[in-house]
């Protein structure tokens, strides 16, 4: 059977590792990673979980897809795996460096209410400094600056409700 090469990385900026996958039929695959060949049977269950048998060892695996990244849950450990084939990898290489620089937008990580805005346009902030307090589920949650820089935009208004992903503050 035809072998496909996949590239997997688990950390941003990490060099992806090659994994060769050869279908053997009926959910079974030969997989090679770091020169070691394994036999892997991957049965997809109706609710989207996967029953994996890797060289006779059994793992209950749950997947959640999130854009390019797959969240993989095995025995309580969540691993974010960035998985790509060769074509995708090349495309990414071409567009790399695109969003690493430049401004950072702090967004609401969950729906809630803005309780307090701790910065104003023009403030210099340190990485980790508190910026906005959002109340959700009866707890107050302080959002921190993702990097040091200058506040260029404040969209958050105290006392207003915000949806998940709403832009709150921009830091450059």
């Amino acid at each position: 059977m035809k072998t496909t090469r996949w590239f997997a990385s688990t950390r941003k900026g990490e060099e992806p590792k090659a994994i060769d996958v050869t279908p053997l039929g009926e959910s079974r695959y030969a997989v090679t990673l770091d020169g070691v060949k394994h036999e892997l049977e991957s049965l997809v269950l109706p609710h989207g979980a996967v029953s994996l048998i890797l060289d006779g060892h059994s793992y209950a695996v749950e997947f959640e897809e999130n854009q390019d990244e797959v969240k993989v849950l095995v025995k309580g450990q969540v691993t974010r795996v960035d998985i790509a084939d060769e074509r995708k990898l090349r495309m990414r290489a071409a567009t790399a460096g695109f969003s690493v620089e430049g401004k950072q937008t702090v967004t609401a990580p969950m729906p809630g209410k803005v309780v307090k805005v701790l910065v104003k346009v023009g403030d210099e902030v340190k990485e980790g400094q508190g910026i906005v307090v959002v109340e959700a589920m009866k707890m107050e949650n302080e959002l921190k600056a993702p990097k040091a820089g200058k506040v260029t935009e404040v969209t958050a208004v105290e006392g207003t409700a915000v949806e998940n992903g709403a832009k709150l503050v921009v830091i450059e």
Partner: protein
């Protein structure tokens, strides 16, 4: 009150509403649910025999809306209201409103609640009854300046606390004067949204004490007993995470002594029903009255496990004038531990993670108890406490109980939202927890360890799994295209190919 209840309104939501309704059903009592507009699809609505909407999502307008709840009680013909914990459970004005409406309140009389509910008044009462208390203010502060002056006097660190209720809400530890204002504001706002009362006082912060509480029960004939302790020192942000009984730091003598003091505290205010007297225990095993929770406690299941009692059944009995069936303390049988499962992300500073539960598998087997208010397909709303379940176990020994709870946690599957399940397992495996030697500073100190490091073998499994998963997605797409081209599986796929 010799007339027997026939119908109970449960003025709460989530797991505790379900918990109360379970006992009602076992007693053959009808149940009435109340719900906010955000909770129309909640489990407690379906579990009840009757259900009434009491207002919009914010609890101030629904679960704290006394009039709407009393209206529902009258409309349904309920004989009694069980308040659960939180919300109106420690609100003396609500107890008086129930009394006025001729509806029994399953809890202590308003007078006992007055004495204990307002935390500062409780402290004065305890001092009078000869119960040791933590040094601190005897009444709420009118202004922040007054509070600042007092903090200066007792010395930092201090603990700001809501006078109107417990459960970790409206509580803030303050290290230094510079942090005072933001902590003051946060405590007041949380106090208001949780208890409808923004009064705040402060106490000297004891350094890393143990939090040990005694379950008490009193009937209306003046009898009062204690049902042993619960160790609740595994807290973060003053929110209990894991509770157990017996406490690993108590011996029978200390248990008897604390139990005696707790009963004295309850009796001194004419207490009736289930209550919990919370103590701080320092490194010399001296103990100080912290507060009394005048209602059923979140962590009551561990007490039920080691005593074999149904505390809600006792509450209902006592509320109908029944006497306690025995008056001697009951030696704890075996060991029980409870873990609170939250919709939150420990790695993101415990950020709550409301959302839809896509798939749910609850642990089972010997001596495992799940108290939950959620179900597969349920959307955890963003308006309320993010606790989705209490998982508790029993075993003959503490060691076996830890192993059993670990096993049960490993079976729990919650998809669609982030939970603290792995964090809970990490606590159970932490050497300090295993030794039974942990104080209220434990979780904060061990935070980085508890988040844990990834296991290299599991990371490899995840990478291989992801690669094969990607391969299978590709194969599936290819099959669809192939069958669409041959027209085998109907026109839908032809359509699909073009998308």
């Amino acid at each position: 009150m010799p007339a027997r209840f026939k119908k109970i309104l449960v003025a709460n939501r989530g797991e505790i509403a379900i918990r109360v309704m379970r006992t009602c059903r076992e007693l053959g009592l009808s149940t009435v649910a109340v719900y906010s507009e955000a909770d129309r699809s909640a489990l407690h609505v379906r579990q009840a025999d009757q259900a009434f909407c009491v207002g919009p999502a914010p609890s101030r307008e629904s679960y704290l809306n006394q009039q709407a709840i009393l209206d529902a009680a009258k409309k349904s013909g309920a004989d009694a209201i069980h308040p659960g914990y939180g919300f109106l459970s420690e609100n003396a004005s609500f107890v008086r409103a129930c009394d006025a409406a001729g509806i029994a309140f399953v809890g202590p009389p308003a007078s006992a609640m007055d004495s204990m509910g307002e935390k500062t008044r409780a402290r004065s009462h305890m001092v009078k009854a000869g119960v040791p208390v933590v040094p601190g203010a005897t009444e709420p502060f009118k202004t922040i300046d007054e509070a600042r002056a007092f903090a200066e006097k007792v010395g930092f660190p201090v603990m700001l606390k809501a006078a109107g209720g417990g459960g970790g809400k409206g509580m803030r530890r303050v290290e230094k004067m510079a942090d005072f204002e933001s902590a003051w504001r946060a405590a007041k706002s949380e106090a208001m949204s949780s208890f409808g009362n923004d009064a705040v006082y402060l106490e000297k912060y004891l350094d890393q004490p143990h939090h040990v509480e005694i379950q008490v029960f009193a009937d209306s004939s003046g009898n009062c007993i204690h049902l042993n302790e619960r160790e609740c020192s595994a807290q973060r942000r003053h929110q209990k995470v894991i509770e157990e009984t017996p406490s690993p730091i108590l011996n029978p003598e200390l248990r008897a002594k604390m139990g005696e003091v707790a009963v004295r505290a309850a009796k001194s205010v004419g207490y009736v029903g289930a209550g919990t007297v919370e103590f701080l225990v320092d490194s010399t095993r001296s103990f100080y009255f912290l507060e009394m929770n005048t209602r059923l406690q979140v962590e009551h299941p561990v007490t039920e496990w080691v005593t074999g009692l149904d505390l809600v059944r006792w509450q209902l009995d006592v509320a109908q004038g029944g006497k306690l069936p025995f008056l001697e303390p009951l030696a704890p049988r075996g060991h029980s531990i409870e873990a609170r499962v939250y919709a939150e992300d420990p790695a993101q500073n415990f950020m709550p993670s409301p959302g839809r539960i896509q798939y749910l598998r609850v642990p089972g087997g010997p001596n495992v108890r799940d108290d939950s208010g959620v179900f597969a397909g349920y959307e955890v709303p963003r308006f309320y406490d993010p606790m989705i379940s209490k998982l508790s176990v029993w075993a003959p020994t503490r060691e076996q109980a830890i192993a059993r709870l670990e096993r049960a946690l490993s079976e729990y599957v919650v998809k669609g939202i982030t939970t603290n399940l792995r964090y809970l397992t990490a606590i159970l495996r932490h050497p300090d927890f295993v030794k039974g030697d942990y104080d209220t500073g434990f979780l904060a100190r061990a935070h980085e360890q508890l988040l844990g490091k990834d296991d290299a073998k599991l990371t490899e499994v995840a990478m291989l799994a992801a690669a094969v998963w990607a391969q299978q997605q590709q194969e599936k797409a290819a099959t669809k295209i192939a069958s669409a081209a041959s027209g085998a599986s109907g026109s839908m796929w032809r359509h699909g190919r073009r998308r």
